[in-house]
C-alpha cells in the first residue's frame, strides 16, 4: 500500500438514520416544520436542524459548512455582480475551486500526501519527516463540497443565477437528509424549491415514510444483519478463504455496499419528501445492469453526473475523438476510484472500471455488435452475467485492505494459488449471501426499466401494506443485533 486506507480516522459515533436519536430528531423536525410559521422561519428551522445534525458528530466542524457557504456564496455573488468581467469571473472560479478542493484534499488526503512527500524525499536523500495530521476526516465532506462547487461553477457558466438568499444557499449546502452521503444535489434543482413554502401532502408524507422504511430495511436488515457478517469473514486480512468463499463473499459485499449506500439515499429521499422537498434518485436497479455504461447510469447516479458535467465534459468529453474520450473516461474513473480514498486498491478499482467502459465501447464499435445473439434473452443474460463477474473482480480491490491482500484473494478466486488450510464460509453463510443477492438481482431485473415510484403504482395498496409491515418487523428484529455506521460517510 502506498497510502494507508483512512479507516483509522473514521469517526465511530455518528447520528445515523438507523438510530433512536435520529428518529426522535426527525419527529421533532417534522413537527416544527408543520407549524404554520412564515416560510423563512421554517427554512431557518431546517437550517438549524441541519447544523445540529452535523454538530451531533462534531460541533467544531459545523464551521466547515458555514465557511463553504460563505466562500461559494460570496464567489457566486461577486460573479453575478460583475457579470461582464470575464477575467475576474474566471479568476474567482479558480480561487473558489482551489479552496474547495484544497480543504477536501487537506482533510481527506493530507496524511497520504505528506506520506508521499516523505517517501519521495527519502528516496532523494533529503531528510524530511512530516508531522502526522491527527484531525478527523469530516463526515460527508466530499458530498457537500461537491454540491457547493457545482453551485459556483453553474453560476460561472450562467446555468443558474446566484441564490437570492443566503439562507437558501446555506440550506442547500447543509440540507441534513443528504448531508452525510448524498445524493449530491444541484443548486438548479434545490434552490427553486426554496422559493415557495414546502409542506408534504398526505401522499408525499406516506410515500416519504415508505421510502424511509425501505431505506432502513436495506441498511439494517440486508446490509448489516444479513450480508455484513459474511463479508467480514471473507475480507478479514488474516484469513485466506477458498475460491467459493471469495466469490460468495465478494458477491455479498456487492450486495452490502449497494444496500448500505442505496439504503441511505432512499432514506434521504424519503425524509426530504416528508419535508416537502424532492431530491434526485441515486440508484436505479444497478444489479440489473447489462454492460458498464448501463451500470454507471444506475449506480451513484448523482456522482457520475457530477463527474460528467464538471470533469468529463470540460476535459473535452467525446468531441475530440475516441482516443481523447477514452483518456477522459479513464481520468474520471480513476478520480472516482480515488474519491473512495488514497489507496492503490481504489485506484485499481477505478482503472478496471475505466478499462471495462473503454473495452465495452470498442466491442460495441466492432462487428461483434451485429450478432443476433445480443438481442435475444440468452445473449442479454450472458452480458448481464459478464457484467456481474467483472464487477466482482473490481470489488475485490475495493474491499481488500491492501494490494497484497487483493492479489491473494484474486489468486484464490481463480485457483492460481492454494492454501493448505483455506477458510470456508459455513453452508449457512453461503446460503444467506446467495439468496439475498439473488433476490436483490431478481427485484432489480423486474423493475429494470421502471423507477420505484412507477413500480409501486403497478401493485395494489394492500401488497404495499404487507411489504411495509414485513420490512418494519424485519428492521425491529434485526436492529437489535447490530448497528453500523453507513459505509459512505467516510467519503
Amino acid at each position: 500500500v502506498l497510502f494507508p486506507v483512512p479507516y483509522s480516522l473514521f469517526p465511530d459515533s455518528v447520528v445515523t438514520f438507523n438510530s433512536f436519536v435520529f428518529v426522535l430528531f426527525l419527529a421533532a423536525v417534522l413537527i416544527v416544520h408543520s407549524v404554520p410559521l412564515p416560510w423563512t422561519i421554517r427554512k431557518f428551522n431546517l437550517l438549524v436542524a441541519s447544523y445540529l445534525f452535523y454538530a451531533a458528530w462534531d460541533v467544531s466542524y459545523v464551521a466547515l459548512l458555514v465557511l463553504s457557504t460563505i466562500l461559494n456564496g460570496g464567489t457566486a455573488a461577486v460573479m453575478g455582480r460583475y457579470d461582464d468581467r470575464t477575467t475576474l469571473r474566471k479568476a474567482l472560479l479558480w480561487i473558489a475551486t482551489l479552496l474547495n478542493l484544497g480543504v477536501l484534499a487537506a482533510f481527506k488526503y493530507g496524511n497520504d500526501l505528506l506520506g508521499l512527500a516523505h517517501s519521495v524525499s527519502h528516496r532523494l536523500g533529503i531528510p524530511y519527516s512530516p508531522p502526522k495530521i491527527t484531525v478527523l476526516l469530516p463526515i460527508g465532506l466530499s458530498f457537500f463540497t461537491f454540491q457547493a462547487m457545482s453551485y459556483t461553477i453553474d453560476v460561472y457558466r450562467r446555468t443558474i443565477k446566484p441564490a437570492g438568499s443566503v439562507l437558501d444557499l446555506a440550506l442547500f449546502i447543509s440540507f441534513f437528509p443528504v448531508l452525510l452521503a448524498g445524493p449530491i444535489l444541484r443548486a438548479g434543482q434545490f434552490l427553486p424549491q426554496c422559493t415557495s413554502p414546502r409542506r408534504a401532502t398526505g401522499s408525499e408524507f406516506g410515500w416519504g415514510m415508505a421510502l424511509f422504511t425501505l431505506g432502513l430495511f436495506m441498511k439494517v436488515t440486508l446490509a448489516d444483519y444479513l450480508l455484513s457478517p459474511v463479508t467480514r469473514q471473507v475480507f478479514d486480512p488474516y484469513v485466506t478463504p477458498d475460491a467459493l468463499s471469495v466469490w460468495t463473499g465478494t458477491l455479498a459485499f456487492a450486495g452490502q455496499d449497494y444496500c448500505d449506500f442505496a439504503g441511505y439515499s432512499t432514506c434521504a429521499m424519503g425524509i426530504a419528501l416528508c419535508l416537502g422537498f424532492v431530491v434526485p434518485e441515486n440508484f436505479r436497479a444497478p444489479l440489473a445492469s447489462i454492460g458498464f455504461r448501463d451500470l454507471w447510469q444506475r449506480w451513484h447516479i448523482t456522482l457520475v453526473a457530477w463527474m460528467r458535467d464538471y470533469v468529463f465534459n470540460p476535459l473535452g468529453g467525446v468531441h475530440k475523438g475516441f482516443l481523447h474520450a477514452a483518456i477522459n473516461v479513464m481520468i474520471v474513473m480513476l478520480l472516482i476510484g480515488l474519491w473512495h480514498g488514497a489507496a492503490w486498491t481504489y485506484l485499481i478499482f477505478g482503472f478496471l472500471h475505466g478499462t471495462y467502459l473503454i473495452g465495452e465501447t470498442i466491442l460495441q464499435r466492432s462487428r461483434l455488435r451485429g450478432l443476433r445473439i445480443w438481442t435475444q434473452p440468452i445473449g442479454k443474460l450472458l452480458l448481464w452475467a459478464m457484467t456481474i463477474v467483472l464487477c466482482l473482480i473490481a470489488f475485490v480491490f475495493y474491499c481488500a485492505t491492501s494490494m497484497e491482500h487483493a492479489w491473494r484473494l484474486l489468486s484464490m478466486m481463480f485457483g492460481i494459488s492454494r492454501s493448505a488450510l483455506p477458510f470456508r464460509l459455513s453452508d449457512w453463510d453461503l446460503l444467506v449471501a446467495v439468496v439475498v443477492c439473488e433476490l436483490l438481482g431478481v427485484a432489480h431485473c423486474l423493475r429494470r426499466n421502471a423507477s420505484l415510484d412507477v413500480a409501486v403504482t403497478r401493485v395494489p395498496w394492500w401488497t404495499v401494506s404487507i411489504g411495509l409491515a414485513l420490512m418494519l418487523v424485519a428492521i425491529i428484529l434485526s436492529s437489535a443485533d447490530t448497528q453500523n455506521d453507513f459505509l459512505y460517510f467516510q467519503y
Binding site: S13, V14, V15, F20, V21, L24, A56, D58, P183, Q189, T201, G202, S203, E204, F205, G206, W207, G208, M209, A210, Y225, L273, V278, P280, E281, R293, W296, Q297, I301, T302, V304, A305, R308, F312, F322, A325, V332, M333, L357, T361, R365, D427, W428, S451, D453, V456, T457, W461, W462, V464, S465, I466, L468, A469, L472, V473, I476, S478, A480, D481
Partner: protein, 356 residues
C-alpha cells in the same frame, strides 16, 4: 456508439412523485400488523421464561448510573463489587427498606471495586453511602485498576451516548430484542443442529438498573461452570498472599473510607454469601482469622460478614456464589436491616458485626 459516462438522458433532475395510493389505508394495517407481530413475539418469549436483558457491563450504562450518585442531599446508596452484589441485592427492595436511592455500580468478574471507591472518594459531590462487597482477593492492590476502563470512560459523543442509553432502555423492556433470539441466530442454530432450544443464557438477565437475575436453570448452568477445573472465581484464590502484604492496601482503603465519611457519607463492607466448595476453598485459601478479622480491625467502616448475621446466613447460593431470584428479596431485606443497624457506615455509629 459514443464513449460516454452517464449521458444526459439519465439526468438526476428526474422528479419523484408520490404514487397515487390510499396511503393512510396502506399504513394503518401495516402498523397494526407490526404491533401485533412484536406483541405476539414478546408474549411468546415471556411465556417461555425469557426476560428482557441488556449486556451486563455496558460502559454507557455504567456511566449513566455513575452520574446518578452525586445528589446534594446525599440520599443515595451505591453498590460496588462483583457479579455477586449485582445478583444478590434487589435494588427496589433495598430502596424501600433504607429509603435511599440505590445505584448499582458493580462489575462482573473478579474485579476489585476499590478503583471505583477511590473514584467516589475523589468526587467532592459524592455524599452518599457505599455498600462495598469485600472478599480478600479484592483487597490486592494489583487489582485496583480492574475497573479503570469504566471509571475513566467518557462517551465520545453526546448523541451516541443518548442513542446507546435509549437502545439499552428498549432492550431492557422487550425480550424479543435479545440478540440471542434474533431470527438469524435461531435459524443458524437450527441449521447447525437440526433442532433449536432456548439458550440457557437467556434465562439470566441484566436489568437497566444493572441488577443481575438468575433463574434456577441458569443457576444450575453456572454451578456446573463453577465446578470446572478453572472456575472463574477460584483462579483468584490461587493467588493468595500473606495478609502482611495486604496491610498497606487496607490502610489506603481506610483512608478512602475516611474521605467519604468526612463529607457525611458512609461506607459498609460486606462479605456476601458463599457455599459448598466455593466457601470451603475460600476458607482454606484465606482463613478468616488471618484475613477477614485482621481486615476489619484496620477499617474504620463497619464490615458485615454473612456468617456473622443469622438472617444472612440463612441464604445459600446454589451455585456457590450467586443467590437465586427466589432468595434475593429476603436477603436484601435482612441486609438492609443490618446496614441500618450499623448506621449506614456513617461516622455517628460504626460497629463491626464481627462477633467471634
Amino acid at each position: 456508439m459514443p464513449l460516454v459516462i452517464a449521458p444526459k438522458t439519465t439526468a438526476p433532475q428526474r422528479v419523484w412523485r408520490a404514487p397515487a395510493m390510499p396511503w393512510l389505508l396502506t399504513w394503518l394495517p401495516a402498523l397494526l400488523v407490526v404491533l401485533a407481530s412484536v406483541g405476539g413475539l414478546e408474549a411468546f418469549w415471556r411465556a417461555g421464561g425469557v426476560h428482557a436483558t441488556v449486556s451486563a457491563d455496558n460502559k454507557d450504562l455504567w456511566y449513566f448510573w455513575r452520574n446518578q450518585v452525586d445528589r446534594p442531599d446525599g440520599r443515595v446508596v451505591v453498590l460496588l463489587g462483583t457479579s455477586r452484589i449485582k445478583c444478590d441485592i434487589a435494588l427496589a427492595v433495598l430502596e424501600r427498606e433504607v429509603d435511599l436511592h440505590a445505584v448499582q455500580l458493580g462489575i462482573d468478574g473478579i474485579t476489585s471495586p476499590i478503583g471505583i471507591l477511590r473514584d467516589l472518594a475523589a468526587d467532592p459531590c459524592f455524599k452518599g453511602v457505599v455498600l462495598c462487597e469485600m472478599f480478600v482477593p479484592l483487597i490486592d492492590r494489583s487489582r485496583w485498576n480492574d475497573c479503570d476502563g469504566f471509571v475513566s470512560y467518557r462517551p465520545a459523543r453526546l448523541a451516541g451516548y443518548l442513542d446507546s442509553v435509549l437502545t439499552l432502555r428498549a432492550h431492557s423492556t422487550f425480550a424479543f430484542l435479545d440478540r440471542r433470539l434474533g431470527p438469524l441466530s435461531i435459524a443458524k442454530a437450527w441449521s447447525d443442529s437440526g433442532t433449536w432450544q432456548l439458550p440457557a443464557a437467556t434465562l439470566d438477565r441484566c436489568d437497566f438498573n444493572r441488577s443481575l437475575g438468575f433463574q434456577p436453570r441458569a443457576i444450575a448452568l453456572d454451578a456446573q461452570l463453577q465446578k470446572q477445573p478453572t472456575p472463574r472465581d477460584r483462579f483468584a484464590l490461587s493467588r493468595a498472599v500473606p495478609f502482611e502484604q495486604l496491610a498497606s492496601a487496607c490502610d489506603e482503603i481506610d483512608s478512602l473510607v475516611c474521605v467519604i465519611r468526612s463529607r457525611g457519607g458512609g461506607v459498609v463492607f460486606i462479605h456476601l454469601p458463599s457455599s459448598g466448595d466455593q466457601l470451603a476453598d475460600e476458607e482454606t485459601a484465606f482463613p478468616r482469622t488471618q484475613y477477614w478479622n485482621r481486615f476489619i480491625k484496620r477499617m474504620s467502616a463497619p464490615c458485615i460478614h454473612f456468617r456473622d448475621v443469622a438472617a444472612l446466613r440463612a441464604y445459600t447460593p446454589s451455585d456457590g456464589v450467586h443467590l437465586s431470584e427466589d432468595d434475593i428479596r429476603g436477603f436484601t431485606t435482612a441486609l438492609a436491616k443490618e446496614v441500618e443497624r450499623v448506621g449506614f457506615g456513617r461516622c455517628v455509629v460504626a460497629t463491626n458485626t464481627q462477633r467471634s
